[in-house]
């Protein structure tokens, strides 16, 4: 079995993996980082989104071997070391952008990249940007509000190191 070395949430780990192991299964099963969820088997729900070298990626579309030598940030690595929530996490809480929380990690990770890469987000831009994430609870109403607020907060607050 090949060995992969990946920096996950700032810690560099090496593990032997089967070639067919998906990044999401590597994170969940080998590293116990169960915050990243699996909601489908056709790469359409977005529950598994993580940041790989700062870009949001559906971790079910990537083999663990493809992440060799790269930096991965999961939802567990988003808050500051002292536990202070990332502005996007805080905005989801403030605006009730989650209910049962299963899509939430993927939503937040997608939102972080959306906010970082899109200046002057509008409601429509957020809705378009969430094309890859399904939420069954919120009707997206409060998620959209949260992302707009989170994006604004990210402009003024220093963003947690891990998300850079």
């Amino acid at each position: 079995m090949p060995t992969v070395t990946i920096t996950v949430n700032g810690n560099t780990v090496s593990r032997a993996v089967e070639g067919r192991t998906l990044l999401v299964h590597f994170l969940r099963e080998q590293l116990g980082l169960t915050g990243t969820h699996v909601g489908c088997d056709t790469s359409q729900c977005g529950a598994c989104v993580v940041l790989v070298d700062g870009r949001s990626i559906k971790s079910c579309t990537m083999l663990a071997a493809q992440a060799d030598g790269r930096e991965v940030t999961t939802i567990e690595g988003l808050a500051a070391a002292d536990g202070t929530l990332h502005p996007m996490q805080a905005a989801f809480r403030q605006h009730h952008g989650l209910q049962y929380g299963f899509c939430t990690p993927g939503m937040v990770m997608s939102a972080v990249e959306l906010a970082r890469t899109t200046p002057h987000l509008t409601e429509q831009a957020v809705r378009d940007g969430l094309e890859g994430n399904i939420c069954r609870c919120t009707g997206y109403h409060n998620i959209v509000k949260a992302i707009l607020a989170g994006a604004e907060a990210m402009q003024v607050e220093p963003v947690a190191q891990a998300a850079e």
Partner: protein
């Protein structure tokens, strides 16, 4: 008055009733530290893969397991014969319906693994246990099953056609029951004197709940103690313990613990007892290792209970003034291949009983035939019967208004049950306690600016677009239900809820509730009830749910019942705490018990400044040195089982405004407003969130979601998110939601009605009424859901005069 989240007057207690406090559960969900079933791993566990039928209907001649058993990592493979040998029972049905002629419904066995016949794509054929999930899956591919494919029937209407393939041999047809409700003679008389009759034929499309967390289960058996534990994605762990322990596996309740940890949504689909729960629990004992199963999404599509799937003909009789005289409804409801846990109750007592809607229709008669087909079992999905009822009524009312040339709002107003008629006994067995239907309608009309609609429609027309507006004035029966009434109607369970309120010696409180939270925010809302009553801060309150070894026997969460029934149980238990505290306070303050007043956590002697906080009382209860030991036991820990006196009746008015592009058939929702009456509201922010999500599911059904089977092969054509269209952020608008608290529920201690399903109940009707309104100028009077661009475009094309279409 409208109460946007966060501005509701919260009174003195910042975390009390009415405050939009932020959710306590969010911290763990936002940091990836929730514990969903698939996040749990047990030492030495094996992984289960379930081989499922690729055919809708086939006879199984036999199995060849040789190659599969020899595959790497395989621990064991079981088939139906192994279950039979162990006397494993059938998955039980929790509700019995009797047909018109008094005969009980046909109730075929539903084995956790089939023996000789498969009856739907996805039916469970074999259980493969291996060291890893991949190995289990690989081994399953090596199983050879001798299938002899048989003809199948999947369509609701087709099931009763002469010569239709039989799903179960024990009956002469696919009819499960032929049931009715109401007074046919009164309805015939009403139609005989009608000035006008509006008729409609409609389909309520089959849906898949699609909670984002796939179902999962882990079974564990402890040889030392003979104890079983099941972790499962359930909305009601005690119900699973009762059904699985009592009927399927024969495990007594004191030996079976069921835990439903964080659950990633249910929408009804996680109420039911599923085969996989029984299989992992049974197999754990067979192999003496924990057994873990998690569904792939493809499996969810073919094994989670589906929802809706009605075919209906309905007629509304009106007099010359537009007053409703009578309603006649004939429905065929698809049960799927087997009876899921509560399936028979959905198209009967949760559907026909709601056919009065908000209107004083004096005579109603409903006939419902339930049929078996070679499809996944159908059961409750958010709203469960009530969206189907609302859809029938509101589509009829809308068409009647158009046919009679009466404004749609005005026609509704003429027929509303007035507040003065409350409590109101409907002709279909319910007694509404309260409701201000005019008020809801007026508020929604203001929110949508109904008066400005003609101008907006004209503007759309100038841009070549078809604009429509549609209403849904819904009422639902929630907080199910008084146990004795439910029992008389066929329920095989009680429908109370339990609560235990445990005051700790140093003043903090743990509440154990039989309700289950899977997104509804109970940990927050229930804490607010306690904070409000006892005057203690929220961080001194813990809400425990979802574990049968911790919580008293509870019925769980469905039918918008958590607050109305579960919250009421907490309120009753708190009453007992206060009653006991009053006695303790009387002793400690040396006053008569009747002179002790209790307010926001303080016991005081009336007319004096002598008082004790409830924390002091609690300490004294556990350190009973100065304590009335002769008349009172120590401790401050009380339980309640609350059985509701009636259903609650949330109601409201939803209005949808949309625009259709006639060139493409694409529908764009421009505005969606909801003016609701949920009785008393504990946390406005959470309530509004529930409404948003409900509306999204209503819109989803109306415009995009549809579960489709191939009528020839019986294959599930919508078996993934590639084919089953889920609403995404760019399909939906933001919503305008308002509510009032002027008609609190009259019969529960909190005055609450429930809000979890409301959005879905009215949502699809409001959208479809708007779609038909937009298309009405082109002569289209009905369209079945979902109104996809293709359907709309075809309807427009078919409606064109022949010449123009060329």
């Amino acid at each position: 008055m409208t109460n946007p989240a966060g501005t509701h007057p919260a009174g003195a207690n910042p975390s009390g009733i009415g405050a939009s406090i932020r959710r306590r559960e969010d911290q763990r969900f936002l940091t990836g530290r929730g514990t969903y079933t698939d996040d749990i791993n047990r030492p030495h566990q094996v992984h289960a893969f379930i081989l499922r039928s690729p055919y809708a209907h086939a006879r199984i001649g036999g199995f060849d397991l040789t190659a599969a058993r020899a595959a790497p990592g395989v621990v064991a493979i079981f088939t139906g014969a192994d279950l039979v040998a162990d006397k494993v029972g059938s998955l039980p049905c929790g509700w019995q319906i009797h047909s018109k002629d008094g005969s009980p419904m046909i109730e075929p066995p539903h084995p956790p693994l089939v023996t000789d016949r498969v009856r739907h794509v996805g039916d469970q054929v074999a259980l493969v246990l291996a060291e890893t999930k991949a190995q289990a899956r690989d081994a399953a591919e090596l199983i050879v099953v001798d299938y002899q494919e048989l003809p199948a029937v999947t369509g609701t209407r087709d099931a009763l056609a002469p010569g239709a393939p039989l799903v179960h041999d024990q009956a002469a047809s696919n009819l499960c029951f032929d049931w009715h409700l109401g007074d046919p003679a009164a309805v015939d008389a009403a139609f005989a004197r009608a000035h006008h009759v509006t008729r409609i034929d409609l389909i309520n499309n089959r849906l898949i709940a699609n909670a984002m967390e796939p179902r999962a289960a882990i079974g564990e058996y402890d040889r030392a103690t003979d104890d079983y534990t099941l972790w499962t994605t359930s909305q009601n762990p005690h119900v699973i313990r009762l059904l699985m322990g009592g009927f399927v596996l024969g495990i007594p309740e004191h030996k079976l613990r069921v835990i439903a940890p964080d659950v990633g949504g249910g929408f009804g689909s996680k109420i039911f007892h599923y085969a996989e729960e029984a299989l992992v629990t049974w197999a754990a004992r067979k192999i003496h290792r924990p057994v873990k199963w998690t569904a792939d999404r493809s499996e969810s599509f073919m094994s989670d209970a589906h929802g809706r799937d009605h075919v209906t003909h309905a007629e509304l009789a009106l007099d010359a003034n537009g007053k409703f005289l009578g309603l006649r409804v004939n429905t065929i409801a698809n049960m799927g291949a087997y009876l899921s846990t509560f399936a028979p109750s959905v198209p009967t007592y949760l559907y026909a009983t709601l056919l009065a809607g908000q209107y004083a229709t004096p005579a109603i008669y409903a006939e419902v035939r339930a049929v078996f087909t070679h499809t996944v079992p159908v059961d409750a999905y958010r709203g469960a019967g009530r969206p189907e009822a609302c859809y029938v009524i509101e589509r009829l009312v809308e068409n009647a208004a158009r046919e009679l040339g009466i404004d749609r709002a005005e026609l509704r107003r003429r027929n509303f049950i007035p507040p003065s008629a409350m409590p109101y006994a409907t002709p279909v067995a319910l007694e509404y306690d309260c409701g201000l239907f005019h008020r809801d309608l007026d508020e929604a009309l203001t929110l949508i600016d109904y008066a400005g609609f003609p101008a907006r429609k004209a503007d759309s027309a100038r841009r070549g677009k078809l604009r429509g507006i549609g209403f849904a004035n819904y009422i639902e029966a929630c907080g199910i239900a008084p146990s004795n009434i439910a029992g008389a109607l066929g329920a095989r369970a009680g429908l109370y809820e339990s609560a235990e309120v445990r005051f700790h010696p140093t003043g903090s409180v743990t509440v154990f509730t039989g309700s289950h939270s899977h997104g509804q925010g109970h940990e927050t809302t229930f804490s607010q009830l306690v904070s409000d009553r006892f005057g203690i801060p929220i961080d001194k309150i813990e809400i425990v749910h979802g574990d049968t070894s911790k919580v008293p026997f509870g019925m769980g969460t469905y039918g918008s019942r958590s607050l109305a029934v579960g919250g009421s149980a907490i309120a009753k238990a708190m009453d007992k705490i206060v009653a006991k505290g009053r006695k303790i306070a009387a002793h400690m303050l040396e006053a008569a018990e009747t002179d002790i007043e209790f307010n926001a956590g303080r016991f005081s002697v009336a007319g004096t400044d002598r008082a004790l906080g409830i924390a002091d009382i609690a300490l004294s209860a556990y350190v009973p040195h100065n304590y009335p030991l002769d008349e009172l036991e120590p401790g401050l820990d009380e339980q309640s089982f609350y059985d509701p006196k009636n259903f609650t009746f949330p109601n409201g008015c939803q209005i949808c405004e949309l625009e259709i592009d006639p060139d493409t058939g694409v529908t764009k929702i421009l505005a969606f407003v909801a003016a609701d009456d949920f009785g008393k509201v504990i946390n406005p922010m959470i309530v509004e969130g529930q409404v948003h999500g409900g509306i999204a599911q209503g819109i989803g059904q109306a415009l995009m979601e549809n579960c489709v089977y191939d009528s020839q092969s019986g294959q599930l054509l919508t078996g993934s998110y590639m084919d089953y269209c889920m609403p995404r952020a760019d399909d939906l608008p933001s919503f305008q939601v308002a509510y009032h608290e002027e008609a609190p529920c009259t019969h529960n201690p909190l005055g609450v009605k429930g809000c979890g399903e409301a959005g879905t109940i009215g949502g699809s009707a409001a959208v479809m009424n708007a779609v038909v309104d937009a298309l009405a100028d082109r002569g289209i009077t009905h369209l079945d859901m979902p109104a996809t661009p293709e359907r709309v475009w075809r309807a427009l094309r078919d409606a064109m005069p022949a010449q123009a279409a060329e």
